[in-house]
Symmetry: C2
Subunit: 195 residues, 2 copies
């Protein structure tokens, strides 16, 4: 449903149906099955994705074969590998955790679209800035907080994801093992933590 992307934009900026139509020619809808991999490490992908429905994750695999989740992308999230902007290869995989429907947008979509619809430009900048803020917060947590604190923070930040994704993925996002997360949860249960 491309209209979902239109609604997303309408919530952020003033854009008419005509304006949207003028930029949507470059967009395509694509569906992915659960567990389907959308982008591989080393790819030079030419697209970013807007998630209409479903759930994606971006993850890397380290030298020991362990996965590390960099980002979840549920409905109404944009996900794109900024490495591809410079035609450099991706450093992570993108995979559909659930059956997912996305809008596929060329890497230069925002720049191009902003020519026709100027107010997209500040929106784009704002999105990038938010992404930076978000990652700064995450780095800060990784530097300063315990596993338990990070887990509580995760629950607050992604209340619905907590039930939607398997625990081992949450552990992978937090930078701990599934076993440790299980123990953290047990601890919290003992303290009568209510999620």
């Amino acid at each position: 449903m491309i209209s979902q992307f239109k609604n997303y934009l309408k919530e952020k900026i003033q854009i008419t149906d005509e304006q949207f139509d003028s930029i949507s020619a470059d967009l395509k809808i694509k569906k992915f099955d659960k567990n389907e991999i959308i982008q591989y490490t080393g790819d030079i992908s030419k697209h970013g994705f807007f998630v209409c429905k479903g759930l994606l994750r971006a993850y890397s695999i380290d030298s020991k074969g362990k996965e590390h989740i960099l980002q979840f992308a549920p409905e109404n999230w944009l996900i794109s590998d900024r490495n591809n902007m410079n035609n450099e290869p991706s450093i992570f995989f993108i995979e559909a955790i659930e059956a997912t429907e996305v809008v596929v947008m060329p890497n230069d979509f925002m720049e191009q679209a902003a020519v026709k619809v100027p107010c997209l430009q500040p929106m784009h900048t704002r999105l990038l800035s938010n992404s930076i803020r978000f990652m700064q917060k995450r780095i800060n947590m990784l530097l300063s907080a315990t596993a338990e604190e990070r887990y509580l923070d995760f629950i607050k930040l992604y209340p619905n994801l907590t039930l939607r994704v398997p625990q081992w993925m949450i552990a992978s996002y937090l930078g701990i093992t599934p076993e440790s997360l299980s123990r953290v949860r047990k601890e919290l249960a003992n303290k009568h933590f209510r999620p």
Copy 2:
């Protein structure tokens, strides 16, 4: 020296002296002493900084009073708190590690300047994208690498900073204690590591 900022821009984009003059009216030079704090947590700062000379660091202080360095900013780096774009308070301090000279730029400088000099816009987007890539890499390291690996990565990334900043700051950037970094270095010395 505001000319340093001009040279920086000239390396990135096509900009004439006249164009630069047309946007530089909003810029000011400011000097900070070593150890001077430029921005406090909670501030709603209205400026970002371009470092002409010297070295800044951005850091947070956790609930136990421990500092955590989010970013170093040596010469020719831009540093600005994206939180301020939304008039939200800063989540970190910015401090001069050395006597430092900066160009002070209003938060909306890039947006405004891009009206007069359009090619600043894609440059700005590229800078933000690079910042995102950089932080993704750092998150990935924090999730997957040992203290030693992160230190080696740091040395490769910031060869000159390694000598310029005290070790306890590097430790704070890496997310370990100064004692641990000292031991990591000792280990590397035993393995005949040559920096």
